[in-house]
């Protein structure tokens, strides 16, 4: 190394670029440093300006939360803007008042940012008393033993990286101890003109070393390396003195720009080339600027928040450049004027060094936590930009080994995806390429532009993707809702269809209906009432008919279904309650049959209501209707005034009881299951035969109807034709039997009940037998088909 260095030093006068052989990263440039301008001067006494401007956002991340009001008096170190609750996520750092004074204004103010945009700032009018709060962070002065405590202090102290990037320091520190094995102190300060780090190392070497030791203790790091560029001998000496007998190792590194870059210095000090996209923390390294370590020391030991920083005020346009412990918020121009400008300051000052700084859009912008230098270089005649001659100087100078020239071509042509492919995001914007470009192309600005464009493109892509997803989600939601609605509709439609089919089937069975209606007519109902009943019945029947063909469910029917469902509930309950009395309605009906015509009419009406209900609701409505009217008619004919209402109710309930299971089976079971359910129903009917003939009959008819449904569904038209007569016959027979039975049991109600039950049981048995037969037949047909 030293041999190479001596050789290089000998070659350097002839071949200056030989110096590039002495450092581990590629390229680099050797600009005129001009550090002597400010480093030769002692640090100036602090200046308290007429007003301090404290932007709420001074670093990467989010603005802090305002805590003060206009007119409020604040003391030095008082918290004037705090971090949000989840500081880690939002990267917010609190702001403290740099001196005592009055909050004059809270307004938008030009930021020290290349854009010159404005943002909310607190403007303090200092009272020049400089009253301060002692130990505002309320620290014990003890070194924290774990990262969390340290982070807490750093957050409260509002410390950010003071080298330039301004990343909140607390956010850089990992939560777990032992993650960082080596702590790196960046004392390289490679930018020309800037000497604030040089001077802080000369004057506050102990604070820096202590800050590093505090951090190392909290993080459990076992090694501390400090890199200082060889062009700062005084700083090296003082740091070496302070670091004596401590963990800290001082390494003198080559003076080359950009040695102070995090990745470059890391490689120089540790030999580790930081992998692409990895953070230093990921590989167990943590690098901080010397000024940051000094601030850490002050915060931990004395509880001092970051309210001032060392700033180099220098440049070729100043007669007396200097370094100063400037209060955060001091306007640039105040400091520049203190350095006795040679020419009027009618040109923009530069924040930072000439390589990476930026021209401020207003010389009144304040010093912020990341301001390391205020540079007043009078504008020079700009060299004309020439076309790129592909000389490759930029590539030779690039410390990250990019192809600046090709990135330029693509940026120029707006082929941003190609620029990205050339790893533009690895560019540290150090400016070496522009510095050496013989064509004077503003390469860095091309890359910055390309970067912001690419970021926007990615953000847009993301937004587009999000929009697409959300749109698709919305469509899916609408579709799902539609399907759900359709499923409901379909279920209902199916029910209606079956009903319609049943209707068609039971056209032949309309005889009983006709009989019923005839009976009803014969019952001499009250004209008005009957008319009304008929109206509703026919109306609903019409609806049923239309609905059978059209897809819509008339609201009437839907209501009816709803009513039926509710009624089923009640009815089934009641049916269970008066299990034995199921046949009683009929007896009552018979009794009612003997009652007055008026009463009969009422019964008829009831029956018609049920009729209409049936029409609306279920598929086996027709058969049951055919019975129901009969029953009702009989009931109407025979019912006593008192029993009449009961009978009516019971009848209705009866039909409903019957409808409910049908409905449910319809909705839940598919056609393949129907034979089984039919059988079951038939069996049930057979078993219940003794109890209630009517019920049996209904069950019978139900099974019949189901049979038909099944047949229809399976499009077995032949079997339908062959089955139909049987069904008709059976239903007719059942009806006849029932008629006979009711006729016979007209004398005594109590006995009638039993007798009828018996008779009905017989009939039911027969019916069940027939049903069973049919089922067998049907099953065989099923299997055939």
């Amino acid at each position: 190394m030293s041999i190479l260095a001596s050789i290089v030093n000998k070659i350097a006068p002839i071949y200056p670029q030989a110096k590039r052989w002495l450092h581990s990263f590629n390229g680099g440039v050797f600009p005129q440093y001009r550090k002597e301008l400010s480093s030769s001067q002692p640090i100036r006494e602090p200046i308290i300006p007429e007003r301090l401007v404290m932007p709420l956002q001074q670093q990467v991340g989010q603005p802090a939360e305002l805590l003060v009001k206009v007119g409020q008096t604040v003391k030095k170190n008082q918290l004037i803007a705090r971090s949000s609750k989840d500081a880690n996520k939002a990267l917010v750092v609190p702001i403290h008042a740099p001196t005592s004074g009055v909050i004059e204004e809270i307004a938008n103010y030009t930021l020290p940012h290349p854009s010159g945009l404005q943002d909310v700032a607190i403007i303090i009018k200092p009272d020049h008393l400089d009253e301060s709060i002692k130990n505002p962070l309320k620290v014990s002065g003890e070194s924290p033993n774990n990262p969390k405590e340290l982070k807490e202090i750093l957050l409260n102290a509002g410390i950010v990286g003071m080298g330039g990037a301004g990343f909140p320091t607390y956010a850089k520190i990992p939560n777990e101890p032992g993650k960082i094995h080596t702590l790196l102190i960046n004392g390289a300060e490679c930018e020309p003109f800037i000497t604030c780090d040089d001077l802080i190392m000369q004057t506050e070497a102990n604070a820096i070393i202590q800050g590093a030791l505090i951090t190392a203790q909290a993080l459990g790091s076992s090694k501390i390396i400090c890199g200082i560029e060889s062009n700062k001998p005084a700083a090296i000496k003082s740091m070496q003195k302070a670091a004596k007998d401590t963990l800290v190792e001082i390494i003198v590194v080559q003076s080359v720009y950009p040695m102070g870059g995090q990745k470059q210095l890391t490689q120089e000090l540790t030999g580790i080339e930081m992998p692409h996209k990895a953070h230093a923390v990921d590989i167990g390294l943590l690098m901080m600027n010397v000024a940051t370590f000094a601030a850490i020391h002050n915060a931990v030991r004395f509880g001092e928040p970051l309210t001032s920083r060392l700033v180099s005020v220098t440049g070729l346009g100043l007669a007396e450049p200097f370094n100063i412990k400037a209060l955060i918020g001091t306007p640039f121009e105040t400091l520049a004027q203190a350095a006795k400008p040679k020419f009027p300051l009618n040109y923009p000052l530069i924040m930072g060094g000439p390589m990476m700084g930026f021209k401020v859009q207003d010389n009144q912008v304040p010093v912020i936590k990341t301001t390391n230098c205020i540079l007043a270089n009078p504008p020079e005649p700009v060299e004309m930009q020439m076309p790129c001659i592909r000389c490759g100087e930029c590539m030779d100078a690039c410390p990250v080994n990019l192809l600046p020239q090709q990135m330029y071509w693509h940026s120029y042509a707006h082929e941003f995806e190609k620029v990205e492919k050339l790893n533009v995001f690895d560019c540290i914007e150090c400016g070496c390429c522009s510095y050496v470009c013989p064509s004077h192309i503003p390469l860095v600005q091309y890359y910055r532009h390309a970067k912001s464009e690419i970021k926007e493109i990615h953000a847009e892509e993301k937004a587009t993707e999000l929009a697409k997803q959300r749109h698709e989600f919305k469509l899916a939601r609408i579709e799902r809702e539609k399907q759900e609605r359709e499923a409901r509709l379909k279920a209902k439609k199916d029910a209606v269809k079956k009903q319609a089919e049943n209707k068609a089937d039971s056209e032949s069975t309309s005889k009983p209906k006709g009989k019923a209606s005839a009976a009803a007519a014969a019952a001499k109902a009250a004209a008005a009432k009957r008319a009304a009943a008929k109206n509703t019945a026919s109306g609903s029947a019409d609806e049923t008919a239309t609905s059978a063909t059209s897809d819509n469910i008339p609201p009437a029917r839907r209501k009816a279904i709803e009513a039926a469902k509710q009624a089923t509930h009640q009815a089934s309950k009641q049916a269970r309650d008066n299990n034995g009395n199921i046949s009683s309605p009929k007896d009552a009906a018979k009794a009612a049959a003997m009652a007055a015509a008026k009463k009969r009419a009422d019964a008829k009406k009831a029956k018609k209501q049920s009729d209409s209900l049936d029409n609306n609701k279920t598929r086996d409505v027709e058969p049951s209707v055919s019975k129901d009217p009969k029953q009702a008619a009989k009931a109407a004919a025979m019912a006593a005034a008192k029993e009449r209402a009961q009978a009516k109710k019971a009848t209705q309930k009866d039909t409903e009881v019957e409808q409910a299971p049908d409905l449910t089976t319809n909705l839940t079971q598919n056609t393949e299951e129907t034979p089984a359910s039919k059988k079951e129903a038939a069996r049930k009917a057979a078993m219940q035969a003794a109890r209630a003939a009517a019920k049996k009959r209904k069950a019978d008819s139900q099974s019949k109807a189901q049979t038909k449904n099944a047949q229809n569904n399976e499009d077995a038209s032949n079997s339908k034709q062959s089955n139909q007569p049987i069904t008709e016959a059976s239903s007719q027979q059942v009806d006849k039997q029932a008629d006979r039975q009711t006729d016979r049991q007209t004398d005594k109600q109590d006995k009638k009940q039993k007798a009828m039950q018996l008779a009905k049981a017989n009939a039911a048995k027969k019916a069940a037998e027939r049903a069973a037969l049919k089922k067998i037949q049907e099953n065989s047909e099923d299997t055939q088909s």
């Binding site: 002839i14 071949y15 670029q17 990263f25 590629n26 440039v29 600009p31 005129q32 290349p114 854009s115 010159g116 990745k263 080339e273 992998p275 692409h276 996209k277 990895a278 009618n346 040109y347 923009p348 530069i350 000439p354 390589m355 990476m356 700084g357 930026f358 021209k359 859009q361 207003d362 010389n363 540079l375 270089n377 060299e383 020439m386 076309p387 790129c388 001659i389 592909r390 000389c391 490759g392 100087e393 590539m395 990250v400 080994n401 990019l402 192809l403 020239q405 090709q406 790893n423 690895d426 914007e429 400016g431 522009s434 510095y435 050496v436 470009c437 013989p438 064509s439 004077h440 860095v444």
Partner: protein, 344 residues
């Protein structure tokens, strides 16, 4: 104070510019120019003046036609490098219209029609040379013999007279012109004379053990080394080119010295050094990546050797360079350096 125009850092520069780079190249060519004048007479000066005049006229007209600012681009010196390269390639006493048409073609078709400086894919000087070589083969191969060989040193005025009129009163023209060493080797080979014999005949004219062409080549090399030190050119170009060419000639010379000339002859004859330091180093048309530059230079070296020994032309530099110019985008694509922090 008005808001300043937004400009990005850096706000400092190493004060290098295109004009300076080009001027350095031009200065580096001076030793060769003086050697040339000493050995071949003032023909080249006349040619160079002719070329500069052509350059000024062509550049002015073209820049005007393209609507570009004339002064900054006419003074960028890039055209000067082009015509200097071309002037060294043509016979010093060839007719005036050779250099005029060659320069015109080189500047218009080699540079301006592609969009001017920085946008041309082919080396303009070599394009002009190839144009001349194909269009006027007779004039392009009749070289003025070195004064040491012809025994006659012609003056500046004589050269000018000859270039414009085609004859010098009272002088036998045939005595003045002849074949270049490369040519004589080639013709010798076709007549059954071995390379060794051909070179021995040439050796009679040697000055301190080197032929006139050898001396010009040395002069080019001196200027070239200076350019590497001042970083006007990259070392990869000459090293790659001379390395490949030297290696090729060494290997084949070992195989059959009667058929293939020795390495020293190959490296110091024809336009080898001119190409190595002045022509292939033209950054616009060369590869830009460090590896790419080396590959590009090696490719030219190999092609030059191939064309010289097995091709139809005595010196294949123009065609070798033009061929490799085509390959530049491909080379650049596949020789991108490993970016910091990235794995290969």
């Amino acid at each position: 104070m008005n808001a300043p125009e937004l400009s990005s850092s850096p706000y400092t520069h190493n004060n290098q510019n295109v004009r300076k780079v080009m001027l350095q190249v031009q200065i580096a060519a001076l030793p060769a120019l003086f050697t040339h004048i000493y050995l071949f007479g003032f023909g080249i000066v006349v040619q160079w003046i002719l070329a500069v005049m052509t350059l000024l006229i062509v550049e002015y007209v073209m820049l005007r036609m393209r609507g570009r600012p004339v002064l900054p681009f006419i003074t960028d010196m890039s055209g000067l490098i082009t015509i200097t390269g071309l002037v060294f390639c043509i016979p010093p006493d060839s007719p005036w219209w050779i250099i005029v048409s060659g320069s015109t073609f080189a500047l218009i078709f080699g540079k301006h029609l592609y969009g001017g400086l920085g946008y041309n894919p082919f080396n303009p000087a070599m394009l002009g040379y190839a144009f001349l070589l194909i269009s006027f083969p007779v004039q392009m191969t009749q070289w003025t013999l070195p004064s040491s060989l012809s025994g006659h040193s012609i003056s500046f005025l004589e050269s000018a007279y000859y270039i414009f009129t085609g004859h010098i009163p009272g002088m036998n023209l045939d005595a003045l012109t002849g074949a270049t060493p490369l040519n004589s080797v080639r013709t010798g080979l076709s007549q059954g004379i071995t390379v060794v014999d051909s070179i021995r005949t040439e050796a009679s004219s040697h000055l301190f053990g080197l032929s006139s062409w050898g001396w010009v080549n040395v002069a080019f090399m001196v200027g070239g080394v200076w350019m590497i030190i001042t970083r006007s050119i990259s070392w990869q170009f000459p090293v790659g080119f001379l390395g490949a060419l030297g290696l090729m000639s060494f290997i084949f010379n070992q195989i059959d010295p009667n058929l293939y000339p020795p390495m020293s002859f190959t490296l110091l004859s024809g336009g080898t050094m001119l190409a190595a330091f002045f022509i292939i180093t033209d950054p616009v048309t060369a590869s830009t990546t460090p590896k790419g530059r080396f590959i590009y230079a090696c490719g030219i070296g190999i092609l030059v050797y191939v064309i010289r020994n097995w091709g139809a032309f005595p010196d294949g530099i123009a065609f070798a360079i033009l061929l490799m110019n085509i390959a530049v985008p491909l080379i650049d694509q596949y020789t991108q350096p490993r970016v910091f922090g990235h794995k290969r």
